[in-house]
């Protein structure tokens, strides 16, 4: 029974590790998408000002 703690520990670490890595990637992805959107708006704003 005492050895089962290592089994629980191993499964917890594997799935928590995978979950947090996916979460980290998704947060980074969302942040970059927002930054690209913001920069494109700035770029388009500058282009339209230039055309005027």
């Amino acid at each position: 029974m005492s050895d089962l703690i290592y089994l629980y520990g191993a499964y917890t670490i594997v799935w928590a590790g995978v979950f947090f890595y996916i979460l980290k990637l998704h947060i980074a992805q969302r942040k970059l998408e927002n930054e690209i959107k913001m920069l494109r708006e700035i770029l388009n704003g500058k282009k339209s000002k230039k055309n005027l």
């Binding site: 089994l7 191993a10 670490i13 594997v14 995978v18 970059l32 998408e33 770029l43």
Partner: protein, 230 residues
């Protein structure tokens, strides 16, 4: 939704379903090990993690070669993304192996075991790979240095794989020709776990490469904005 997003979602879907099946197989379907008992069930995801780390570092190796040959930075992005995912799986393999070792041997680590030592060196080499990239000055020097480092670092993969077959110390050999071969149900659960982790790896690599491409897009837009200020 773009085609790339659809492919990534499909791969993630296959990974999630196969992971759920592999957890069921590992914890319910397979019998307890005769000598080690239930703690042996660590084995399915420990081996799958180790295999995926080998695959990921293999992809870094191939992408590094392709970069050096073509000088196309997309291969550097693939190599870098795969190295990072490989480190995640290598870390999981080392931690789960240590926990299994504690239950089987009574200690978390055996420094005298060459398989364990080489695997730790492999992990350190790719940690150094990431540190090297972080400190390189230009994009090109970053790509050149890390391609060479990734190719040399890959040498540890076949060494790590073969170490327990050559020296036969404490670490068991999972896929043996005759001695100590697995029961059919255990082998099946292992194959499903490796299949599931392969799809998980593919999803993580696609996402990681996508993030690097977005960073490059941001740099390009910033340059365009800067250029219009002049």
């Amino acid at each position: 939704m773009t085609l790339k997003n659809n492919i990534a979602s499909l791969i993630l879907g296959i990974a999630v379903i196969s992971i759920l099946i592999s957890i069921y197989l590992a914890l319910v379907y397979t019998p307890s090990h005769e000598t080690m008992g239930d703690v042996q069930r660590i084995f399915y995801f420990h081996v799958a993690s180790a295999w995926i780390s080998y695959l990921a570092f293999g992809v870094t190796f191939v992408a590094g070669l392709l970069y050096l040959k073509s000088k196309d930075l997309k291969w550097d992005t693939v190599a870098y993304g795969s190295a990072e995912v490989g480190i995640i799986f290598c870390t999981l393999a080392i931690i789960t192996g240590s926990l299994w070792g504690k239950a089987a041997w009574g200690v978390f680590w055996r420094w005298e075991d060459i398989k364990l030592f080489i695997t730790l060196v492999l992990w350190l080499v790719f940690i150094a790979y990431l540190a090297l990239r972080a400190n390189a000055k230009s994009r090109i020097s970053k790509a050149n240095l890390s391609a060479v480092f990734g190719i040399i670092g890959f040498i540890c993969v076949p060494l790590s794989f073969a170490a327990n077959r050559i020296w036969q110390q404490y670490h068991p050999t999972v896929i043996a020709t005759s001695r100590g071969s697995l029961q059919a149900s255990m082998a099946f659960a292992l194959v499903v776990a490796v299949f599931a982790f392969t799809f998980l790896y593919a999803y993580l690599l696609l996402t990681r490469v996508g993030i690097e491409k977005m960073r490059e897009t941001i740099e390009e837009i910033k340059q365009l904005i800067g250029g219009q200020n002049v």
